[in-house]
Amino acid sequence: MNAKNRYYPINSLPESAFQDGSILFSFDTFNTRYAWDCGVAIGEYLAGLREGKIIGSTCPKCHRTMVPPRLFCEWCYQPVHHFLPLLDTGTILTFSLCYVSWDVQRITEPEIPAVIAIDGASKNHGILHKIGEIEPEKVHIGMRVRALWKAPEDRTGDITDILYFKPE
């Protein structure tokens, strides 16, 4: 600390100050609920997942195949109506090893999110999913992987109908 900065002692508030009422505060919770329409393209995608298929859509102008599918091409701005099943295999474009869970708990066995370029889609068109059945230190960019699906009777038309991708 240099001479120009003044020092202010800081006393953090103890939990008891909230409990014994020596601090005045207002508490409220936010009880909102939403139900999002998935629309035509993502509707096709989710219906495909229930059938054990990864669905893409192809732009009539630039001919690229997008996954997850879209009803429009964001590059050419063309409407897109051609849907097609792709393979359930692909290549890891990028990944991370997460040692903290979504609810901020430290975990020893990392979770592995990855973007996977799906075979049959245009180059570098990938979906976000998880990697499993592998030593974390062996995961690498360019690695070939295959989807592990839930049993057909357990699928609900959800991104989690694929449990994870594992080495091919």
Partner: protein, 386 residues
């Protein structure tokens, strides 16, 4: 540098109480595609910047602006989101063009109200957390307080406000995009379903889904690409105190000030003479009457008579909400001002179909962000450049 700015394209999708067929992204794409066609522009080449109007709590997604580029053709282009009313977005686009830095700018606004399963809770969350929320009222109580004071000052009755509902829902019969049309014969409203006395449930506009895209261009470009540019002659916006405890309940001072700003830019000294029709806030029926006073079309002594003589019907002295307004079209939350702008553009171009007014040249559009806000914006449009 040329300082004129015109609306050169409008497109919309809707308006329906639900829209399960399209996601909000697909809804916006449909509206944008039509607007770009109308404006004769390619969004990937011609549009230099994009504005989206959205509020995270209505979307159910934090930092919602990340979800706006793709469906507008705005990927890897300048774009930003305004967390305000659609008219605030429109005015921002106008100012960008006035700055001389942009020639063509598009704005988008939408409502996917059917996806919000707890709309009242979202509105309740707009109240002050320490002074107001703990009192636990339904948030429409704010409209009840305002309407009470308005009736007291204007000598209008609850039935006079019902007449506004009747007019707007009747107008909606001639608007194929409207979700809540109703013929006059059927519209004898029951006057006992009070939500917050004197506010009746039937006096509250019901939500709809829909998307609207509007393309603006600098005067020289507008002349080249559009056969019917609609000129923005003046804009204004204003907020009063947020505190329920500090406002003047009897009048909409902020609407008055926003209008004054827009009138002065448009060189309109007497709105009754200078304006041919109005598309204004009617999210609650009484608001249409209060807004007409704030805009200078009536005062507390004349408003009741004007409502009763039908002055605000399409064949009256000042047609108000010919589109059907939010009561007839449906309430689009922050996209409401965009729906009203579209109606003004169609009327001024002379392509409003069965509800076309006879040769209007100047329109006023006004919007409000709803309870408990005091946030309003005004735009004046004309089909005459000079």
């Amino acid at each position: 540098m040329n300082k004129d700015v015109a609306i050169v394209g409008v497109g919309w999708e809707g308006f329906h109480p639900t829209s399960v067929d399209y996601s909000y992204k697909e809804l916006i794409y449909q509206a944008a595609n039509k607007a770009y066609h109308d404006a004769n522009v390619d969004p990937r080449k011609d549009i230099e910047s994009f504005i989206s109007v959205a509020e995270d709590f209505f979307e159910g997604t934090s930092i919602f602006d990340e979800y706006t580029p793709d469906q507008l053709g705005a990927v890897l282009k300048p774009m930003h989101t305004i967390s305000g009313e659609a008219l605030h977005g429109l005015i921002s686009a106008y100012l960008m063009i006035r700055s001389g830095l942009f020639k063509i700018v598009a704005i988008e606004a939408h409502s996917k109200a059917s996806n919000i399963k707890s709309i009242t809770e979202v509105t309740r969350y707009a109240l002050d957390p320490i002074l107001q929320r703990p009192l636990n009222f339904h948030p429409d109580f704010v409209a009840g307080l305002e309407m009470q004071r308005f009736l007291h000052q204007s000598q209008c009755s609850i039935s006079d406000c019902s007449m506004i509902v009747q007019k707007n829902r009747y107008n909606a019969l001639s608007n194929p995009s409207a979700a809540y049309p109703m013929s006059l014969a059927e519209t004898k409203l029951s006057e006992d379903d009070f939500l917050a006395y004197p506010l009746l449930e039937s006096h509250i506009a019901k939500p709809v889904d829909g998307a609207i895209v509007i393309v603006l261009a600098n005067g020289d470009v507008a002349k080249d690409i559009s056969s019917q540019p609609i000129w923005i002659k003046g804009v204004g916006w204003c907020n009063d105190s947020y505190a329920l405890e500090y406002r003047n309940w009897g009048e909409l001072s902020y609407v008055q000030k926003a209008a004054k700003m827009a009138y002065s830019q448009s060189q309109i000294t007497n709105p009754i003479e200078g304006i041919d029709f109005a598309e204004i806030d009617d999210s609650y029926a009484y608001r249409e009457a209060m807004t007409l006073i704030a805009l200078g079309f009536a005062d507390n002594t004349t408003i009741r008579g004007l409502i009763r003589e039908g002055a605000f019907y399409p064949d009256g002295k000042l047609p108000v909400n010919v589109s059907g307004g939010s009561l007839g079209v449906g309430y689009l939350f922050d996209a409401s001002g965009a729906q009203k702008t579209v109606e003004a553009v169609l009327q001024l171009r002379g392509i409003a179909g069965a509800r076309q007014l006879s040769q209007p040249s100047t329109a006023i559009v006004e919007s409000w962000r709803g309870v408990p806000t005091t946030s309003s914006a005004v735009v004046i449009l004309s089909n005459q450049r000079e």
